[in-house]
Amino acid sequence: MAETVFSRPGALAPVITHYCPGCTHGIIHRLIAEVIDELGIRERTVGIAPVGCAVLAYNYFTVDFQEASHGRAPAVATGIKRARPDLIVFTYQGDGDLASIGMAEIVHCANRGEKVTVVFVNNAIYGMTGGQMAPTTMPGQIATTCPLGRDVEQAGHPIRIAELLSTLRTPSFVARAAVHTPLYAVNAKEMLRRAFRYQVAGTCFSMVEVLSTCPTNWGVPPVEANRWLAQNMMPFYPLGVFKTPDGADRAPTPGAGD
């Protein structure tokens, strides 16, 4: 008998997402769902959807969900986890959501050491609202609110969230991964697995920043978008583990890729 060795994980709902063709949001969803399945925590997991393209994430997982207001998912997660420490709580947030409007919430959630898991999808753009500049938009990259390309003199350089959170003294797990090729996705899953495991063990706050694409608003076909990510984002956003709760930190590398 044929055995199915790869198929939709149980924590992923059998629906078709609204994501654009080739948008890597879908891959990240599946990786999370697989990890939830593997850890056997589906029935006690609560996810938090952001305001962003993933706003409908609550339709795509077979776990209970809360829909947060824009940027505040870490605060919502804090509320849930403090109320019910037995639940496994994760947020799923875009770069506008987490790195712009939600900066205070993510920094403080991490700093309090809330035992939640944050999946941070960095696609260098505001996807849902139609392609405005994000804090993570690359220098020179065109967006609808920087029609001549991001001018670092006016808008500053992109923000590296993983590095930023790694400076906090409170123990945590902070990593950056990517999903633009399957092998990178394998690594991303490993990072997500570690992130959730730390939560299951009650150890610490965990965040995985995942570099992602937005073919639609970048204005390129999906395959090209993956290449653009590798060529433009990865040098500035180095992958790896930035911080672990046991202190075996990889020192943040400001200036790396500058």
Partner: protein, 362 residues
Amino acid sequence: MAKKLMKGSEAIGEAAVQAGCRLFFGYPITPQNEIPEYMSLRLPQVGGCFVQAESEVAASNMLYGAAGTGERVMTSSSSPGISLMSEAASYLAGAELPVVIVNIVRAGPGLGGILPSQGDYFQATRGMGHGDFRLLVLAPWSVQEAADLVQDAFDLADFYRNPVMVLGDGLIGQMMEPVEFSSDRQPIKELQPKTWAATGCPGDRPTNIINSLFLDPEELERHNWKLKAKYDAMTRDEIRSASYAADDDYDVLIVAYGTVARVCSTAIDELRERGVRVAMVRPITLFPYPYQAIRDAALRASSVLVVELSTGQMIEDVRLALEGARPIHFHSRVGGMLVTPDEVIEKVECILAGGAAEVSHG
């Protein structure tokens, strides 16, 4: 339990604990710091959890998350901090989450001052956040009533799945009065188990989703009317007001709420002693507003006096109640200044002497 002399802020905190509140999220702001301070000490004693949020924005969204698990939760703040909760208030109402929000109002606008005010009446009863929604608003006039209303607030919030605001001012927060907590308090509403809470999805039940997004406008329209139906139900079932010295006849009816009504009661006592016929209706729920009670009471008087610590907010509701049926006079102090009994007495005497009404195109 025996009576205890308690600060209003502490009584509010203790009342919440007694009502089963185990989570408090807040951010310091004068004049309500004693509430979070009390909770930071008290909640761990009962197995609860106090979190000092990084801001009121964060506090109100923590509230959202915690309420979504079905636990009883509360936050408190004062005017500027409450403004920062506007977006969350709208989300809470949209997602139908039961929470209790305490606003110990201070004088505004802007940074303003920290002394008592009733300048947030419009915000509390109408405009706290975007979209069609209402908070159920309770306004105590004493520390005991603050404690009672906070406990009721949790029941009402749960029953209607709607945020409930307790609106006080610095006097309520800062003063000490005797308080008694009954040891076998029963919920004031029949409450259902919170099967809607997002606490992990066992087996095959459909997932529970705490949400205010409805991309389909027809669905959102239905949702809006569903919310409206709740507000109508509140209007039918939850209106509360009290009257003072209204058993006897009166010529002037005072309408005032919160601590201002206390001041007016003193004025009424003195006026009655002098033979001046005056009474008061005191709204306890500000939304739903006791339009009918005020109208009925006003029709027994020849004129109405609204006293509030704002340049004129609740007076609009009194106008809506009376629709021109009686002339309405107005007295107020603002900016942290307080109305005194003497001022009220003087105003009533001036009315009886034929002083012109502020509003009288009826």
